[in-house]
Subunit: 287 residues, 2 copies
Amino acid sequence: MIEKLAIFGVGLIGGSVALALRRAGAVKTIVGVGRNRENLDAALALKVIDQATTDAATAVKGADVVLIAVPVGQTAAVMGRIAPHLEPHTVVTDAGSTKQDAIAAAARHLGGHFPRFVPAHPIAGAEQSGVQAAREDLFRDRNLILTPVPQTAATALRVVGELWQACGARVREMQPEHHDAVFAAVSHLPHLLAFTLVDEIAGRPNADELFGYAAGGFRDFTRIAGSSPEMWRDVCLANREAILRELDAYVQHLSRLRVLVGQGDGPALEEMFRCARRARRQWLAEN
Amino acid sequence: MIEKLAIFGVGLIGGSVALALRRAGAVKTIVGVGRNRENLDAALALKVIDQATTDAATAVKGADVVLIAVPVGQTAAVMGRIAPHLEPHTVVTDAGSTKQDAIAAAARHLGGHFPRFVPAHPIAGAEQSGVQAAREDLFRDRNLILTPVPQTAATALRVVGELWQACGARVREMQPEHHDAVFAAVSHLPHLLAFTLVDEIAGRPNADELFGYAAGGFRDFTRIAGSSPEMWRDVCLANREAILRELDAYVQHLSRLRVLVGQGDGPALEEMFRCARRARRQWLAEN
């Protein structure tokens, strides 16, 4: 049982953690912290949090766990604000999509408290953002990845692992660099491809007509282009090298496809599409 | 009321047309024609069609309407097989994703019957293919595009328009070249991007691990990579020039994004993502 949990950033992720832990009976008091008083009031009204504050010191005082659930570009600033006020036993964790940058920020800002920082990434999301979109089942049966470093305290790691298990997540561990490379491929790259497609079409003189004839395939393909611009800006900045590698590999593969289309190579095109369909079906069957 | 309808290719599209017309009471007898006896037997068992044959002459004899619903690469061959057997009044139509190639094939193979060929494209589909996936509501409130040419007979155009209205579709008209350009952008390109992403990841040594961490965003983004390889091969061959133009425009836009990521240009990245999200939301609100 967590006596006091402070959540910085009561949006889709932070709010869903609050709802899930409450339902599991795993927390007594939840304090929401944010820059935006309106959002905090909404979170209070929705009973997602018990108390709200914009003051880091108040929030952190006596907290067993501090969860940082802000866009990853703000993680370092939040760490700087909480560092002077942390209790010796407080466990700090985050929920960002990139992990090497969170670890570097913690090393820089948390000082001697660094071993009690546990980097974490829930593999769940939604097209909508904000506390109104929070759901207690957002993490149920989803992967949650912990990326501890050699200095990470085993007790802190256990606390965070149990927190996410209480949310229904499947807790895994991964090396931070490896985490960032994997998610550059299966998450960051697809988001950028979808944003690019929608932006490219939106910029055309006949954009309205084009969107008017877009159908279900386009809708699903571009669902992730409805995601938070601020969050994805920060992901691009935080995981730049891995994302550039993925973009380059993708463009190279796409240029091979272009050659096949240009040559009218039917058998090779069909073979490529067949491989893709088979791989996707196998994935769906196993997951 | 159509007394006799012959459907070449009783798959997702052909089967769904049969079910929709039957439900609307708009057809008396439906004959399914195909290469694959097993599929025809399934269509008979599912009561999608009344009769089945592999013989084009039998199928076409006395037919008011012939619907060609095969992968677009086979359209020309089907036209060649039916041409000698068409009744003077028979209307021929298709359901292919590309229209200029269908019109060229009709001009080449249907001879004097060309004015009674009506090129059509229903903007509906599904991840699954085959008659088992057919649904009577597949076209309800979906766009159906007719791309008549100057020679097209008004009576034939009306028959096909009414057929699709009976299926619940919203019937529109478009120039064939314009149709092929529009769908290269909003349909063909996204399919190729999705096939490419899945194929690229499937070819990596750690493909299993990568797929294992793919989440809902990846699932939706790649849904269309589950589409028929044969159909999409044919679309690439039939609409090559427009698809190449779209691939080039997309890669150019993606290379601009790459520059922004490489430079770590947060404001420009956020602006691009914001434009894309706004455009997509506006589209969803209007459609």
